[in-house]
Symmetry: C2
Subunit: 135 residues, 2 copies
Amino acid sequence: MLLSKSCEYAIQAVLTIARKSDGDYLPVRKIADETGISYHFLGKILQTLTKAGILNSYKGPNGGVALVRSAAETTLLDIVAAVDGLGFAQRCALGLPKCSDESQCALHEDWGKICKNMSQMLESRSILDLISFYK
Amino acid sequence: MLLSKSCEYAIQAVLTIARKSDGDYLPVRKIADETGISYHFLGKILQTLTKAGILNSYKGPNGGVALVRSAAETTLLDIVAAVDGLGFAQRCALGLPKCSDESQCALHEDWGKICKNMSQMLESRSILDLISFYK
DNA sequence: AGCATTTAAGACTCTTTTGTCTTAAATGTA
DNA sequence: TACATTTAAGACAAAAGAGTCTTAAATGCT
Ligand code: FES
Ligand code: FES
């Protein structure tokens, strides 16, 4: 599994926020109901996104979370980086301690291409791109 | 992390077997020393490969494990399939219960391409290809 | 037959990930 | 000020992954 469960949830949540919010804050409760993700678990994940500067949060009545930047300016890579980190693109496919063009393993070249594809996909797809799929 | 730790170890082990064995059985002990993988843990992983028909094993003095098919006929995909399964290529990137061309999520198309790349890489690279890298 | 070697198998522990629950803090509203 | 709403935070539990250890079974050698 490339993305952790938390990261999958984070992406689903951000997609939901971008689709459902009309500029106001969207309560975590609503996101949980919409996506089916456990409320409390989702809360923690969204905290990470808030700390990472991807979401704003506001407490109290009419509070909730909202995107800091526009959907067009927020990419999948931002979310993955915040939740899982970018290690996937730097780690050796065989788990060897170092992965660089100097100290290579047998998979390094093939693997590098795949990682690059993946990073490019994650970076080039904005949240806006993705929600337009549902329209 | 795409490949599990066990799967990384399995690949390392098979590469070692292909490189070090001269037709005889290679003891798990030797593979563990060579790769630095814990002996007992490696034992379990190699059992899985044996059950999957990738390795033969033989007990007793001069026993060990050996490739069933030649290094040229054994692919990375065989190993990954045996240890981790092929779920990675069928699972929805967002963890949604179904992933098919009918019931798509926003990432389905992009994700599909990446999975295909990955499968092709794993399938097209034989163990022989990989060990020739070290020569 | 007896011994040393080597894989097989399962119990067990440790760590990480995933998920739940409870309480605190902030904030708008009446 | 009192209250309802909503996020923040941390303790706790459950499940999965990773790793260790012990014992059993098979086999070759003397
Ligand atoms: S060294 Fe193994 S993938 Fe780079
Ligand atoms: S439905 Fe999500 S990747 Fe196929």
